[in-house]
Amino acid sequence: MKINHKTVNSALYISLSGELDENAAAYAREFLEALFERSAAKKVVMDLSSLTFMDSTGIGVLIGRFKKLKGRGIPVMIANPSKTADKILTLSGLYELMPKIIY
């Protein structure tokens, strides 16, 4: 699991790459929490195009971050999900919370 990020025009763009499973969840959760803590972004875009694997643990990680950001009034979007991520995101109904965007 590798996480890259950049802020452009008050939007925090985060790219998750590799495998988001139980083994990577703690790291992802901790990294993202620290990142959100020091960010003044007004919206968050999670780019999942480079996720090679994701299971329902990943869904839990994303929902957890969504809830925290929602509490601060910050919307979250899922961008360019890989095919494998898209399938489980669709099944879980996560796009109703975090809209899917393609760019």
Binding site: E22, N23, F53, D55, S56, K83, S92
Partner: protein
């Protein structure tokens, strides 16, 4: 039966990727599509995660994984010897979780059921859970092909 395998691993997070990769590799002789392989890897990962997180609650234990190929169908059995599931029917409902404080999505069994053709969950009275699932690997069947 055309082929079979058995794998015994310690219930550790780091073994999840290993377990799903082994089962996926075992299925390769049937020339599955990439989508079918991804479905199997995800389902195996869900079952193994359940063993690590719920059956053994992170304290470790043994997970037995067996798979068999028969007429282009893979049958997978994942067995633990942990605390068992008090209410299997409830556990199989979408978004049901006994560990909401750990940000569990409660989607594990729903994913297994959706990504495989069949799923059964057997929880023994004295503890231990056996998950049995199958998937046909014909080119024109299965989700996402």
């Amino acid at each position: 039966m055309d082929n079979s395998m058995v794998l015994k691993i310690e219930a550790l997070n780091k073994n999840e990727a290993f377990a799903r990769s082994v089962v996926a590799a075992f299925c390769v002789e049937l020339n599955p599509t990439l989508d079918q392989i991804n479905d199997i890897k995800t389902a195996v990962s869900e079952a193994v995660t359940n063993c690590v997180v719920h059956a053994y609650e992170g304290k470790g234990g043994v997970i037995e994984i067996s798979a068999a190929l028969e007429n282009r169908t893979v049958h997978i059995e994942i067995k633990d010897f942990g605390v068992g599931i008090a209410d299997v029917e409830a556990a199989r409902r979408p978004f049901f979780t006994t560990k909401p404080e750990q940000e569990r999505s409660g989607m594990g069994f729903t994913v297994m059921e959706s990504f495989m053709d069949s799923l059964s969950v057997l929880s023994a009275d004295g503890g231990g859970v056996t998950v049995v699932m199958s998937k046909n690997l014909d080119v024109n069947t299965g989700q996402g092909d």
